[in-house]
């Protein structure tokens, strides 16, 4: 289907290059990244000594969203500080993202 989701990944910043590469390989047409700090089940991650988090947002079709999530789950979820979530969005120029 062509409904578009905004998929957000928050992960240890050391993973940023790998994840960005992989989501593009799996079909995302682009992504937007920013540096964030945060806390979850792991330690507080808010400084450069111990590492901060990266927030990667990508607008993708439902299929690709699912594909990326499956991949992330298999490769990263058990081992790294990381969460991922998504919700539908309305975009201008749908074909930009497909």
């Amino acid at each position: 289907m062509n409904n578009l989701n905004l998929l957000t990944i928050i992960a240890e910043e050391a993973l940023a290059p790998a994840i960005e590469k992989e989501i593009v390989e799996m079909g995302a047409k682009g992504f937007t990244s920013s540096s964030v700090s945060g806390k979850g089940l792991h330690e507080l991650r808010d400084n450069q000594w111990e590492g901060e988090n990266i927030k990667i947002e990508t607008i993708v079709s439902e299929d690709i969203c699912k594909k990326i999530l499956t991949h992330l789950e298999r490769k990263y979820f058990d081992r790294y500080a990381m969460i991922a979530f998504f919700h539908p969005v309305n975009v201008m120029r749908t074909d930009h993202f497909l």
Partner: protein, 322 residues
């Protein structure tokens, strides 16, 4: 020892610890921390390269050999001890081995400053020794984990060769080695151009950096109990042991008292820039609480505050008896 504790560097470090204990809102912006790191690595590299260009090769090769020998063997016994005595699992033992085999550029800088202040001579090429000691131990630590883990066709298991490449191209060794070469090549004329930025204010910048290091170490102190008594004991005794070894072998390799003490300090120091980053990616199952706490909250403060004067005394004894 008092001279060391009363140096601006050490006091700034202690102030940082106090600040984080009293929950001060003092924070260094991330980019200041990154900028200071870049500065320190360039400054160490440039000066070391410059001094290396003035040293005869015959003075350099023996200490280099000893240094590489040290940083390749330290991970081995550290790993063994961690597994058997510390009862750590494979990834955690390997990560600790990587950290304690590798070296800390900031501890190294503090050691230089310590000797400068006491006006004790040391070999100017020591930064090249620092550069050699950074990476091998990390690779050995990671390899130890790989060898001792039943290999699954895991998609996260980067080949060690790839890790080596990343470490070599990594920020800290690239800057250190790159500017060692630059310092070596540019001669006195080039050195004079960069010294006003990279040499003259060096101790001031180090003071700033140690203030920030104190802030982080202070926050980590509350993790100490997670590590437990074993980790505290290890984080203090092993550095002393490694320092002893480093000093003794340094002396054998022909280093001056100052040079031997600095080699000992390098052996005693634990990496907390290159190693944590590499371990996080290559050994994700290892728990940062252990290695970061040990390296940053135990060994680093110990080395900076008490270790340096202690190693200096040890070196005096060793060098006089021989």
């Amino acid at each position: 020892m008092l001279t060391n504790i009363l140096s601006p560097m050490v006091l700034a470090f202690l102030l940082g610890i106090i600040a984080s204990r009293v929950k001060s809102d003092l924070r260094f912006p991330d980019s200041l921390y990154q900028s200071l790191t870049i500065y320190l690595l360039i400054a160490i590299g440039l000066k070391g390269g410059h001094k290396l260009s003035l040293a005869p090769f015959s003075d350099v090769w023996q200490p280099s050999l000893v240094a590489v020998g040290l940083c390749c063997t330290i991970p081995l016994w550290t790993y063994g001890l961690m597994r058997r005595v510390g009862k750590f699992d494979v990834p955690n033992a390997a990560a600790l081995a990587a950290h304690y085999g590798s070296v800390s550029a900031v501890t190294f800088s503090a050691a230089l400053a310590f000797h400068d202040i006491l006006k004790i001579h040391y070999e100017g090429f020591m930064p090249s020794i620092l550069a050699m000691m950074e990476i091998p131990a990390i690779l050995i630590g990671i390899s130890l984990a790989r060898i001792n883990t039943p290999s699954e066709s895991d998609l996260t298991n980067q080949p060690v060769k790839e890790i080596a490449r990343e470490l070599l191209a990594g920020k800290s060794s690239l800057l250190l080695i790159g500017f060692l070469v630059i310092g070596f090549l540019v001669g006195n004329k080039g050195w004079d151009q960069v010294a006003p930025l990279f040499d003259v204010p060096f101790k001031g910048v180090l003071t700033l950096f140690l203030l920030e290091a104190g802030l982080v170490a202070g926050r980590k102190l509350s993790d100490l109990r997670k590590g437990g008594a074993f980790l505290i004991g290890f984080g203090i005794l092993f550095p002393i042991l490694h320092a002893l070894l480093g000093i003794y072998l340094g002396k054998l390799a022909g280093l001056s008292i100052g040079g031997a003490t600095i080699l000992g300090t390098l052996a005693a120091s634990a990496s907390y820039i290159a190693a944590p980053a590499a371990c996080r990616v290559a050994l994700p199952e290892a728990n940062p609480s252990y290695y970061l706490t040990a390296a940053l909250a135990i060994t680093f403060p110990f080395n900076i505050v008490l270790g340096l004067p202690l190693y200096h005394e040890i070196a005096k004894v060793i060098c006089q008896t021989n």
